[in-house]
Symmetry: C2
Subunit: 231 residues, 2 copies
């Protein structure tokens, strides 16, 4: 019926497929090299078999390069699709926070549902309505309509800094309610100036200067705090 468009048109992704693409995108960023199906399963809170299933499906559809037992990497097409999902997610988070006054620890779950409405027009109108925000409420960069993601702050995990380094908390890589609530009680707020006082090699914990007081942060925390290094 539609021989030309049929060859070009990509069958729309299901919500689940989009979730997995987003997951692969995030894990690919934080790791280097291919993503293992077990990591995918852990991230998605499902079983390894489900992860394998979906990775194979996405591979058949051309979104993922996959070799059994050796992990998956996003294809160009897969990366493009994943970035669009991330864009929608972060724009909705920004909307929920700025316009509907949700706290930054509340927006993630709702955005996970809103992100699957795949209307380019809607996304772009939302972007304009929010006045083209650069970062979401967690400080993560919002990809542009063309899929470009650039972050002049070059954030790195706090865990990679050395004693004496000074920086600014610009983002968090874990958006779970538990983690964000912990940050608030500890007064670790986006924009805070932070200085590394001492490292504990034993358990990877870190003593940092935060305004007038010193706090001890576990490795689990320092891995999830993203810092713009000042010097």
């Amino acid at each position: 019926m539609e021989p030309v468009s049929a060859a070009i048109a990509q069958k729309a992704l299901t919500a689940s497929e989009e979730d997995y693409l987003k997951c692969l995108y995030v894990l690919e960023q934080s790791q280097n090299g291919p993503v293992h199906t077990n990591d995918v399963a852990a991230y998605m809170h499902t079983k390894a078999s489900s992860a394998t299933d979906m990775v194979q499906r996405l591979s058949k559809k051309g979104y993922v390069h996959y070799r059994a037992y050796h992990g998956a990497t996003l294809s160009e097409q897969g990366t493009e699709a994943a970035v669009q999902v991330v864009r929608r997610h972060r724009l909705w988070e920004t909307f929920l926070h700025r316009k509907l006054r949700f706290r930054w620890d509340e927006v993630h779950a709702l955005a996970d549902q809103l992100e699957h409405i795949a209307s380019p027009v809607l996304t772009d109108r939302l972007d304009a309505f929010l006045d083209y925000p650069k970062y979401d409420p967690h400080g993560e960069p919002i990809p542009s309509a063309t899929g470009a993601v650039n972050d002049p702050r070059n954030p790195v995990p706090l865990s990679t800094l050395q004693v004496g380094n000074i920086g600014r908390i610009v983002a968090v890589s874990d958006h779970s309610q538990d983690f964000l609530k912990y940050l608030e009680t500890t007064n670790l707020i986006l924009g805070s100036r932070i200085e590394v006082n001492r490292l504990q090699a034993f358990d990877g914990s870190m003593h940092v200067q935060l305004a007038v007081r010193e706090v001890v942060l576990s490795e689990k925390v320092t891995e999830r705090l993203l810092i713009e290094v000042l010097h």
Copy 2:
């Protein structure tokens, strides 16, 4: 594990179940008496077997009273659920129109997706953000958070008016792009004053006065235009 809440808690509805509840609600309003599965199938653009399937499922779950071959009516619980879906739908339509500048013929399709995000907090925040709107872009009343729907305008289809009656177009019951675009080209706009000049018994068409000019409207149109009668 949770003996008490298990007895009370309603398993969440799927998007599809919500769509059917909304459909049943709308059809129950426009018809009188039980809704036939064929009407459901027609409205949902699916097959009769699918409609039967879903009506039976909703009946088992207690949302619908159903007698085979005799149609379905919403239970109290079903009406309540349907009204909430309608509330979300109309709030999102209002958001899309007022804030994102979508035309009234564009909002329906997007709202059909947004309406399934069933977070009472989100819905109420959106309501507040829009300053508690009473009507959606098609002039239909937006149910309150408690599920109350009251419309002091008492709109009736234009097709029920008599020669000499005068009224105001306050809503449309068909939200399809085709119909709404037709209305715009004919200058039939919400708020317009309208007077019935002549009825054509033959085909049910109607000659009406619209500002300085007279227009002829087919029965299909007069059934879908909702009028607040002035006298």
